[in-house]
């Protein structure tokens, strides 16, 4: 009797473990794609003109500056742990999470961040641009 019970217990455990692994795999596959999806930000002409006039502006997590016809865009996401960096007085950027500092061009100057701020790919969209962030 005990060997039958042992067999059934083992079978249930194996079935449970298999179901758990399969469930985790399905869930993992379903969820793991989402965070990697690219994000796009529209940069209409009016916004680009304002950025040019004001010497730069922050829009939807991006710093937009330079001429409206050929803007320079920086992604204000820290390359260390993806906090939002903020412009600081005297140029450059600072991360509020771990104190990484970047120069005005987005190159890391101090702190734990090692990579420069990302420059999104810009595509013409009518009279403005679309910024594509990976």
């Amino acid at each position: 009797m005990s060997s039958r019970r042992d067999f059934l217990s083992g079978a249930w455990a194996a079935a449970g473990a298999g179901a758990a692994v399969a469930g985790a795999a399905v869930l993992g596959k379903a969820l793991s794609g989402s965070p990697e999806e690219a994000r796009t930000v529209e940069l209409p002409e009016a916004l680009l003109m304002k950025a040019e006039r004001d010497g730069g502006l922050v829009h939807d997590g991006l710093l937009v500056r330079g001429p409206a016809t050929a803007p320079v865009v920086l992604d204000l996401t820290c390359t260390h742990l993806r906090c939002r960096v903020a412009p600081v007085e005297g140029g450059g950027f600072s991360c509020p999470c771990h104190g990484s500092r970047y120069d005005a061009e987005g190159r890391p100057v101090s702190g734990p961040a090692l990579k420069a701020l990302a420059r999104p790919h810009l595509m013409r969209a009518g009279s403005g641009f679309t910024a594509r962030l990976s």
Binding site: S32, P35, C83, P96, C97
Partner: protein, 273 residues
């Protein structure tokens, strides 16, 4: 042990005050809803204080009780399974509290959410899925965080406490003591909210119990965010299985870990000044 019973009482106060707060919180407008609760709802500020302080008390009580158990060498009274699950109560409590911190929705909470997402995502194989499961996908509201704060982790904390304490609920005396202590503390210690946007150049601080980890991440790679806590849990869990010199060694490692954590906390606080 009176400390363990009081900690259980604090958990009940935290759960009940959390239930009372739930109707006032909005996943789509977390900070605005809490500002309204704090500023425009009668007793709202105090109720939030009771919830926060009883939760902090629960975490501190859990920690102090763990030290007490190790000090008095009573860990051997628990079966290995119950012991390991009791040790797991520590990260479960911290995850429950962290969810509450993220639900504030202010600049500190937003930064905390970004960091925690990256720390979770750095876990091999399942990290990205785990981050999405616990925190939602980037850009989503805080509903998944709230679900795990009020549901998953609170329920787990209750189950683990109940198993360990061999009681489905705390006794009346401990509950009354915990409630009175939380009520008084909420009247004396204000639990404020931060600004919606970080002031330029400022260093934002995470929750007080994770400052050491935040400080460690100034110098160590992101995987330290989960490897360091895992190391401590493994060391404390193994204490139950060894005696003599090995036990002393493991406890010394845990003490050194705690000292290092405190040093990282101080280092971060100095950097934030």
């Amino acid at each position: 042990m009176i400390l363990g019973r009081l900690t259980y009482g604090l958990l009940l106060v935290a759960v009940l005050s959390g239930l009372a707060l739930a109707p006032f919180w909005s996943a789509a407008r977390p900070l605005e809803s809490l500002e309204t609760l704090n500023g425009a709802t009668p007793w709202g500020f105090w109720l939030r204080g009771v919830h926060a302080l009883s939760s902090w008390g629960f975490l501190l009580g859990t920690l102090a009780h763990l030290v007490e158990v190790l000090w008095k060498k009573t860990d051997g009274r628990l079966s290995p399974g119950v012991w390991w699950r009791s040790v797991a109560l520590l990260p479960v409590s911290i995850l429950a509290l962290l969810g509450g911190f993220l639900m504030r929705g202010d600049a500190e909470a937003q930064a905390g959410l970004a960091v925690w997402r990256e720390v979770s995502a750095s876990i091999p194989f399942a990290g990205r899925a785990l981050a999405a499961l616990l925190l939602g996908v980037p850009g989503s509201d805080l509903a998944p965080v709230a679900l795990h704060h009020a549901g998953t982790f609170t329920l787990l904390a209750w189950l683990l406490t109940a198993e360990h304490g061999r009681a489905l609920a705390p006794d009346l005396r401990s509950t009354v003591l915990a409630a009175l202590g939380s009520f008084a503390a909420a009247g004396l210690l204000p639990v404020s909210l931060g600004p919606a946007v970080a002031p330029a150049g400022a260093l934002l601080l995470g929750p007080w119990y994770l400052l050491g980890l935040q400080g460690a991440l100034l110098h160590l790679p992101v995987v330290a965010g989960w490897l360091l806590p895992l190391l401590l849990l493994a060391v404390v869990g193994l204490v139950r299985h060894v005696d003599g010199r090995w036990r002393t060694t493991l406890l010394a490692v845990a003490a050194a870990w705690s000292a290092g954590y405190l040093a990282f906390t101080v280092r971060l606080l100095l950097a934030a000044r």
